[in-house]
Amino acid sequence: MALIGNIRLNTGQNINIPDIEWGTAGIIGLNQNYWYYSNGNNPATQPYWGDVISKINAKGAIANYWGDVYNLFMDRSAHPASYWSEGAGKTWLDNVRAHTYFIFGSLDNGGTFICKDSGNKYYLMALRGTFNDDSTLGDDYAYWFQGVPGQSSDGLTASELQTAFFIQYDDINGSPKLWIFYTPNGLGWRNYDANAFPTSTYYGTTLDDCLSNPNWEEVLPAISLNGTIPENMFVCSDVTGETVYSSQGYKAIGSDGEGVYPQYSHRAGSILGGSRIDSSENPYNSTSTTSPTGDPWDDTSDKIPGTDEDQFTIDALNSGFYTLYNPDKTQIKAFNNYLFSDITDAMSQILKRLISNPIEYVVFCAMCHFTPPSSNTAHISFCGLDSGINANLISKQMHPIDCGSVDLFYIGKDGLKHDDTSSFLSYDPYYKIQIYLPYIGIKDLKTSDVMRGTLSVKYWVDLLTGACIAQLTVNRTSRGSHDVNLDSVIAEFTGNCYEHLPMSATDWRGMATSIMQFAGGAASVASGNAAGLGTMASAVMAEKVTVARSGQLAANYGYMGKQTPYLIISRAINQTPENFKEWEGLPSNITYGISELSGYTEIDPNTLWVNNIPGITEREADMIRSICNEGIIV
């Protein structure tokens, strides 16, 4: 049985170390200068071996992960020669078993584990792992305590190990930082980061002394393998996680041969004493995981600024077609009199020219925020007339505009793509995704369509009309069962990406009328009563109002709008208390034998048949079903 990870404090819980095995049997190897333990290939044959040698911490050891192989190395030169004589080395080499039990953490994330040699002595190793699958090992290292396996004077006996205490020490962000433990044979506190004691200590006469210290922060509960914890002991840290406090009355922290047995721990203002459960993470907040192969979920928000006032350096007035005036009431009356008074000779010449107006041969003039494709230049011509003016000649009517893509996943420790929370909270209605598309507006997306995939946007523009269609494509790998690989257009939206310029008064009137038909897009608000804080999930989502974030952004409106697509994500925030799954469990809906389970369990009473138990009464059978339906602890 391989058991890796935090153990749960539970009075009376005993763990039989010899029965615990770590993964597959390990390979113990000997390089000229380094001992290594590996569950895979001989690391000396791997291409990263040079990096290993150069980066092994002088304090003792280093660990890394390369291609599914876990390796631990110890630097022979870091220890006295007597430890590493050929005979002693071979003894250790032969005697260390591939038995390790992780008190905290795991090999790939670092932690504290126990291993045993054939002399029935136990050794603790604090291991910091930030494994990556390139050859750079960074500053990972590990440190053996209680000496070196195989040395008869070193190690802990089983009874000594049973009374050791371990504390997982988190930083202020709640991330595992230090693996400190204490053993009764006098090693005191150990901090694997620095292989040293805490940076400072504080002693109070009583527990209250330390409670009153304003810097007192939190530490996870102490754990002992035999479940017993002496009274009147506690440990805590300050807000930086750097300073450890402890109760006085016991041996002071700070030197070998002394120690403090922690009992109490402070979590969010409460004192926990006696039998207690190791605090567990909020299962719905899995985004705190980091990955050796990829980036965690990016929980930041990109700024989407409004339209820049200075971006319109060239406008329609620069075309020379238009002149805009701002007359007052006297002047506009005068212009009216000019238009409808007697025609002079000068005006008749002008009118003659107006009848054969060349502008009739200009179909349209428009502006756009992209460069149309062209392969050569030509004179602007119309109605058989060559204007002699050279301009780029647009070569194709349909033009693609690729807006790129956005990833809606993060790579987990397993190397697979995961959604934001790895739970139902990553999907509708708890997680809403909208997309802003230039010249189209803001559209709702179905979260299930895009989550865990790569969303791409590509426009096709009809250069003859300005009509555009935005195609949204999702590329996503299957989860496994009940899922498929997806690489498809999942939505198409239409708009117009030209700002058409009127060529005549008639032209303008027609265009203005068309534009005004698209004006507005008022936000619509569905009424709903606001749900109170802490309301259950479904009730909260049922009361949420729906607001339209934009109207239709066709034509000239879109020209003034944002030119880059972006997503607007609204996600629910869960407020799950500590130890939630220990007290309430999590949704299962799976068939199990009750003997296979441990911990909090709610059973579907319709599937619990107990009436056939010899001697049971009907009332007792009903009681069993009722209690199991409400929740029991197996």
């Binding site: 041969y361 003039c365 999930a537 469990g585 999590l586 034998g593 929740g631």
Partner: protein, 156 residues
């Protein structure tokens, strides 16, 4: 009929209770009892000499009935003690219950987070964030290009 006193240290919901048999100097444990008339074996009342009453006990086992009981209440009358009890059906039938195969609705260690969980609480405000597509692709706000369309072009 004999009753054995225990101190139960576990919550009622535990299938297997952590119980400790009590020892009181000068007293025996188990003690002799009788079942009071007109009570049932699920919620019985046991009668005993008040000398045999263990005030520190909160749990018991009755051999003849082969059941474990929570001690809910104790009353005294005329030299006798009366234990008002409720059967702990979980502890009594724990071995048989463990053998059952059932559909588990909620579980501490075996679960699927993608099933909707109505027991969790949500805040009434949401986290809103924006994710931009690459700004070096697609339309360019800094580009303003003219498109002119004419007809009757004899040079085409």
């Amino acid at each position: 009929m004999q009753l054995t006193y225990y101190n139960n240290k576990s919550d009622k919901r535990y299938l297997n209770k952590n119980i400790e048999q009590l020892v009181l100097t000068g007293h025996s444990n188990p003690v002799n009892i009788v079942l009071v008339d007109d009570t049932d074996i699920v919620t019985p009342v046991f009668k005993m000499s008040d000398h045999d009453l263990y005030m520190t006990a909160n749990y018991c086992y009755v051999d003849t009935l082969r059941r474990y009981y929570f001690i809910d209440d104790v009353t005294l009358s005329e030299g006798y003690a009366f234990l008002h009890c409720t059967c702990d059906v979980l502890m009594t039938y724990k071995e048989e219950i463990k053998q059952r195969k059932v559909v588990v609705k909620r579980q501490e260690n075996n679960f699927n987070l993608y099933q909707v969980d109505d027991k969790i609480t949500l805040l009434n405000y949401e986290c809103v964030k924006t994710i931009s597509f690459p700004t070096d692709k697609g339309f360019d706000a800094n580009k303003q290009e003219f498109v002119l369309c004419t007809i009757g072009n004899t040079n085409a």
